[in-house]
């Protein structure tokens, strides 16, 4: 497996091998699916749209609907306005969404299609039916990663719908806005559960719960029941605060909402693990909400588990890769479990990754390979040079895990080769319990596999 990968690390300035990221539009597609009755729409040639839909489907094992402008060579030279206009007309006629959320690709970005102008044209020529909306985000694939694309579409939700609202008298409970980050529907449910249990009315955007974990009922629903509604997006201005979970995926939207609607915002780490979840709950507490006993109890269960299991984690070497918000919070959690994060890596560009990782690891930062904007080929080489006891990351890690015979835990996006993950949270205290269970299972399965017969224990 991966037997062409040499141990010796050589400098590369141009060749990317086995990326730890993909391109912007897929993140925008995913974010758009978190709007109720919304059809994501790809303004480019149709290959992108097909790839994005396939990939999202492979992770969620759910339908992922999206339309495309289907550029031809002619449109690529003379501009895609006719394609987009025709695309909007056909999509509204055949699929009747409330919102079409347009993202761009490297094709339409390179030729410089002016999307707002085309949407204006669609409006004035009656292509957008009464009461329906077309929003857009520019998502050039040659900039950032899928996380950037997610962030850009979240920003667009704010820009297209949010306004300043002074009168908040309608609200029965204070409204809290949450940008949950590029996480699974189950994570969004868990975040909502926590915030609602302390007494907030939550507007989460995007919210894919109910969309990408829809039940089997025997009838296909093109637009499932979930998703943030246009009405909710228009009322974002009523929020007492916006919490952005994960600076890479969510900070920009919260900042934009602050600017447009004057809702104060706070950027928090993705609540993976105990410390990051504590900070999230702390932020809720700071807004004047009392923390209910059930949350305190669940946290206590998590701490109890951490005490019980610590011998199996202590000083275990771990390599973590994936999206920056995920990797940073998990690195902190692994540190808190007494593990040694030997290699941490993301494919997404951004200096904040290194800065933040150094802060988390403190005086141990120089013992860790902190790799921002890097790839899995490098990670594999690093592991060959400095082996680890556990590898945590997306499905692509399974090749390294097999090549180097390392226990492996799937975490983050995408997970293409296992089932049920999108239904089980890995965020919050519940998610931390789940993560401990998976990581200790992996370590102990390995101990069982490798122990001699006389060391093979019933009780561990």
């Amino acid at each position: 497996m991966l037997s062409q990968t040499p141990t010796k690390v050589s400098q590369r300035s141009a060749l990317r091998i086995n990326p730890a990221k993909t391109c912007q539009p897929i993140g925008a597609m995913y974010a758009a699916s978190g709007i109720h009755n919304c059809l994501p729409y790809s303004h480019g040639s149709q290959g992108c749209c097909s790839y994005h839909r396939s990939h999202l489907t492979r992770h969620f094992k759910e339908p992922f609907m999206a339309a495309t402008s289907s550029f031809t060579e002619g449109a690529s030279v003379f501009g895609g306005q006719p394609n987009l206009l025709q695309g909007l007309r056909t999509a509204f006629a055949a699929y009747d969404p409330d919102v079409i959320a347009v993202n761009t690709t490297c094709l339409s970005e390179t030729i410089g299609d002016d999307i707002p102008q085309i949407i204006g044209e669609a409006e004035s020529s009656g292509i957008i039916p009464e009461g329906k909306f077309v929003i857009h985000a520019n998502t050039p694939s040659y900039d950032g990663s899928h996380v950037t694309g997610f962030s850009n579409m979240c920003v667009s939700m704010v820009k297209y719908f949010a306004t300043r609202i002074e009168d908040s008298s309608e609200a029965s409970a204070p409204q809290l806005n949450i940008v949950p980050g590029f996480v699974d529907p189950a994570d969004m449910r868990e975040i909502r559960r926590l915030a609602e249990s302390v007494g907030f009315t939550v507007t989460m955007f995007p919210d894919t719960a109910g969309v990408l974990d829809a039940p089997q009922t025997g009838s296909f629903q093109m637009y499932p029941d979930g998703g943030v509604t246009v009405d909710e997006l228009r009322n974002l201005g009523r929020g007492v605060k916006t919490l952005a979970l994960g600076p890479f995926a969510s900070a920009e939207a919260a900042l934009q909402l602050d600017k447009i609607a004057g809702v104060p915002h706070e950027v928090l780490d993705l609540p993976v693990g105990i410390a990051a979840t504590d900070r999230f709950i702390g932020a809720l507490n700071a807004l004047g909400a009392a923390i209910p006993d059930e949350i305190t109890t669940q946290r206590g269960q998590l701490v109890d588990l951490m005490c019980d299991v610590q011998q199996h984690f202590y000083n275990k070497k771990v390599a973590i890769f994936g999206d920056p918000d995920h990797v940073l919070s998990l690195t902190e959690f692994c540190r808190d479990l007494g593990m040694i994060p030997v290699h941490i890596l993301t494919g997404t560009p951004g200096k904040a990754f290194g800065r933040k990782a150094t802060e988390i690891l403190g005086d141990k930062a120089d013992q860790t390979n902190i790799e921002g904007e890097q790839d899995l080929f490098l990670l594999h080489q690093l592991i060959k040079n400095q082996p680890v006891d556990l590898l945590v990351g997306t499905s692509y890690g399974k090749y390294i895990a097999r090549a180097e015979d390392i226990p492996f835990v799937r975490f983050g996006w995408p997970i293409l080769d296992r089932f049920g993950h999108a239904l089980i949270p890995s965020l919050g205290y519940a998610g931390a319990i789940q993560l401990i269970s998976k990581m200790s299972d992996a370590l102990l399965d390995r101990r069982d596999r490798d122990s001699t017969e006389w060391q093979f224990e019933l009780v561990l």
Binding site: I26, E62, F71, A94, Q216
Partner: protein, 527 residues
Amino acid sequence: APVATDLVEDLVKPYPVKVKRKRAKHITVNDPDEIPPIEANVRSTPGIITTRGCCYAGCKGVVLGPITDVIHIVHGPIGCSYYAWMTRRNQADVPESEQDFLKYCFSTDMTTNEIVFGGEKKLAQAVREAYEIFHPKAIDIFSTCPVGLIGDDVHAVAREARKELKIPVFAFSCEGYKGVSQSAGHHIANNGLFKNVVGTEELPAEAKTNPFRVNMLGEYNIGGDAFEIERLLNACGIQLVATFSGNAQLAELAHSQDANLNLIQCHRSINYMATMMETKYGIPWLKVNFIGAEATAKTLRKIARYFGDDELTARVEIVIAEELAKVEPVRQAVRARVEGRPVMLFVGGSRSHHYQSLFRDMGMPVVTAGYEFAHRDDYEGYQVASTIKVDADSRNIEELTVEADPEHYRARKSPEELERLKASVDIADYKGMMPEMAKGAMVVDDISHHELEQLIETYHPALVCSGIKDKYVVEKMGIPCKQLHNYDYGGPYAGFRGAVNFYQEIDRMVNSPVWGFIPTPWEKQSA
């Protein structure tokens, strides 16, 4: 059964007027005796939700990607390379002494800087780095959407690298917007392989003793299909020179001109290669189908008839008898459990046809079928190929002018022999999908999501065959959906063993207990 002409009306009903008119031409009611023309291989309607992919996917993803010992560098932003990374299940069993890059993904990961200032330097450097790290036998380069727009000359970079590194480096201008689907990419891949690879090496003399030498064209070894085909050819004493391009190494393709017959499995993706090799080297081609037990037996007999050797013919009959004996009990058992239940097939450019033989084996009628990106000849038969007008969207796909090679052309059969053979073996011919389908069955080209949903509501099929994007849509309706691109991670489905796998898989899907749980007990109670 629904009245088919009304159904066409129904299928296009919600579309804007112009789209209605356009889509109606892609939907037709089959008549095997008088094949109606169908519109195909034209641009998709924006916004309609097509399942089609792009030219790059057809070139890199389908045809070139499976070659194991070449480094495939994708010149573009990261997505194109990433999404084609191990997502098609073209398996390969590479000897340990050989390099295998199948699990790797190579990209120039273009950033804004290259879009603005050009990406040729980065590409040249990427090729250099790939060479320094891996020392591969060859490197190929694939263009993506922005490359053509910013004017990077990938072929010039390849030429320079070839001089510098002294290994084959060649490029494909397969920008995603070219043509109207994956199909353009197949054509571009065929041209590049033909120009740069085929005929660049000689088959070693010791490998030339068996006169029954064939190439498998258009077989990508999804789920191990090519392994099963190779097993059968070996058992019959037929030598497989090269497979384009499942489980393939570059050298096989390079000396494939030394085969004596080309077998085409996927007509759409590789027919260009077959006709070009026929013209240049004198190798006849035969359309075959290794999907289905009956179809496989028929294919092996066709090959034997072509070579006209008694011993070979006898061996083929022994192999068929032995294999069918194992297939038959499973087929009978499954048939009893699935017979008469209708099926819909919407796959890329060949499987919608090939799998009909497997469903015939089980007595499951195909009520409607279509391709994503096939051309009219795949629907109606090879005889219409010469009448097809290439439209503006596909005009820029290069047609190579090929002539007989003065040194290497060798007629495998005399014109008289070929003429005689044509009575019993359909040499250089493909009958297309529609002649094999029932009268009144619906044929839909480049089907949209709306049309698929409507057809399912109309026919209430027991099973739909399609791809990953449709799978969970269909299953949410309570109907099993068999993925015929990736086989739902099973396979092989080719050959005799494949047929057994497929029967059992369809039985499992159609008769699975899980579907019975969809209505809740309390709904059942009140009903």
